[in-house]
Symmetry: C2
Subunit: 386 residues, 2 copies
């Protein structure tokens, strides 16, 4: 099954036990609800405001959260079934955005330590094992206590560099609460750049319901509109705001990895560039043209990596083209989300196979490019030891 080179999944989520416990202790979004009315049923995970429909019993809100969310054995089983040799796991949304400022740093440290320890134990076993199924490697993206005072965030950025299995951080699109273009983030960006920390940006909040015609319109197709469109459009807006605010001008060393192939940034980069060039607000003013100084293409080619979680060839081609090279796109699965809906839980997941098929379709003739996207880029960029 294995092509003879590392297959690295850089977009794969887990809720370690300490995080599950935290969510289960809450009763407002995000929270985990244990249905007492139907013993034996899986707990329900309610992570989006749109999941928390008061018109439904709690036992029918959100999605069932089974052991695929928290079990390292399940993660390895999924990896084996799909020929994945290494996973860089990350907390799923909404990370730690909801913590009160006082406890945020301690909670982040506990969860990051948990992740590092679990990956370390796995990797020690893998190194000494002879069976190929036991040789699977695990690394992690850490999470930041973004609701904590700035100094605590910076402290954790530096501390994460001392955790050997942690290869970057994952964060949402709201930063300290008002977006990634928040001037208050300057200190955080300086720390991220100085420590060469890769930032995996992932959506969570989506768009206001009214953008989709309101809750009733949304409900007609379940989670399709918020997930299929809200998520990638959120990422696109967040990154565009960051770009327009000049963050990449001031921090040319920042390294970002964008979920879902950048939302829609690869497709819209040309339109953003054109709108910036034609914006009257940016016209030369006292000798200085306002607005971002660098071309968005330059930022894409220098500061941004894209995952290959786009489920189709047109999108993947645009992602590779916008990234400027096959060196900046990385395979991912979004596991454990989008499981097969039928009974055949052990078959290969459609959500994974469609991304693999797109890679094969785009790069059929180019084994070297495939090797890079499927794993080589992640090994190089994250410094993985495989």
């Amino acid at each position: 099954m294995s092509p003879g080179y590392p297959i690295v999944d850089i977009h794969t989520h887990m809720y370690p036990p300490s995080y599950i416990k935290l969510l289960a202790s809450r009763t407002t979004v995000p929270y985990i609800h244990q249905p007492t009315e139907s013993p034996g049923a899986d707990p329900r995970l309610i992570i989006l405001a749109s999941d928390d429909d008061p018109g439904r019993p709690k036992s029918a809100r959100g999605r069932p959260v089974d052991s695929t969310y928290s079990s390292f054995d399940e993660k390895r089983r999924f990896m084996s079934a799909h020929g994945i040799t290494c996973s860089v796991i990350s907390l799923a949304n909404p990370w730690l955005d909801f913590l009160d400022p006082e406890s945020a740093l301690a909670t982040a440290q506990e969860i990051n330590d948990d992740l590092d320890k679990a990956c370390g134990e796995n990797n020690a076993q893998a190194s000494s094992s002879s069976s190929s199924d036991s040789k699977l490697k695990l690394y992690a993206f850490g999470c930041l206590p973004l609701s904590a005072p700035l100094k605590d965030i910076v402290t954790e950025i530096h501390r994460l560099k001392t955790l050997p299995q942690v290869k970057g951080v994952i964060m949402g699109t709201t930063g300290l609460g008002s977006g990634l273009d928040d001037p208050k983030l300057e200190e955080v960006y300086s720390a991220l750049a100085a420590t060469h920390t890769l930032v995996f940006v992932h959506p969570h909040y989506g768009l206001p319901d009214s953008a989709f015609g309101g809750p009733e319109t949304i409900a007609k197709s379940g989670h399709v509109l918020p997930l299929a469109l809200g998520f990638p459009l959120e990422t696109t807006i967040a990154m565009a705001r960051m770009y327009l605010a000049g963050v990449f001008d001031r921090h040319p060393d920042l390294q970002f990895l964008l979920a879902h192939s950048g939302g829609t940034l690869p497709f819209l980069a040309g339109r953003i560039e054109s709108c910036v060039a034609h914006e009257r607000e940016f016209i030369a003013n006292g000798g200085h043209r306002q607005g971002p100084k660098r071309s968005i293409w330059d930022v894409l080619h220098t500061n941004i990596y894209l995952d290959a979680v786009i489920y189709g060839q047109p999108g993947l081609k645009a992602a590779i083209e916008a990234a400027g090279s096959v060196d900046r796109v990385m395979f991912g699965t979004d596991h454990p989300f989008f499981p097969p809906l039928g009974d055949d839980q052990d078959s290969k997941w459609l959500s994974v196979e469609s991304n693999k098929t797109a890679i094969d379709g785009c790069l059929a003739q180019d084994e070297d490019a495939k090797r890079k996207i499927l794993g080589g880029n992640a090994v190089r960029v994250l410094g993985l030891e495989l």
Copy 2:
């Protein structure tokens, strides 16, 4: 300059005199403001709610509306300068969405007659002229009285087929007010399909300000966020809602042309398809799986044409790939929007050249494909006589 084949611009706007008069008679969005405080200054066009900033004097709101918006001579001058041999002009947003129901049909008829007559006079002259600059052809997309009673809308759809220069209709994304997935539109879709009327879907309303972090965040980069992102995301959401509601299942003969290369639909089609396949709400229910019956790729390949107004090679490649063939993508300019900001108004427009450069970059080796996108497809699909 001319490559020896027709160059057709299918995305080019005009406000005919009757429409300018209508907007100038209004004081709420959309409206035209004639600055009385600075005589000689161009009137201001305020078409977006975000343009109508009460913190600014009316003379500084929106954008200057000069003769490029209403003059057929200016349109021809622009065409000559860019080697365009035929333009299919359309009213710019927000079309007639704001009319009161009683007068909407009469106003639509007047404006559509105006457009047909102006194009007819131009084309009669062009046919009898020997100079190449006088041979430029003009056709039009009509507009529908969407605020009128349904029977009036259907009446105008049928009447437009009797206007020889009108080759389809342009409309926004809200339909009768609540979106293109509105069940009340069934009768309209039946009429559009029965008359083989091409529908050019164009954004106007964008996204709620809160999607961009609020008005203050938006204002920092002028119109960039609403125009670069709000517009294409609006189109994407509207078409996804239509698709999810099964409109293309019930009306397999509908023909749509999507502005700005489909918003972001080509990039996100795979994700939409994947989310539909994994949506629990759509699971088989009494033997019938809910949700759209046709694949979104099938709809893209059968019911949808895309313009090539995407300002970059990654986006254009995705558009061609998602459309399934170079036969379904058509050159456009978005004139008179995005004019050069400097003094050099007579040079070639960057907004046009970047789209032409993308076409050249994608299809440098394929003259036949270039010929199709630059004009051949429009001639074939719209039945233009050139």
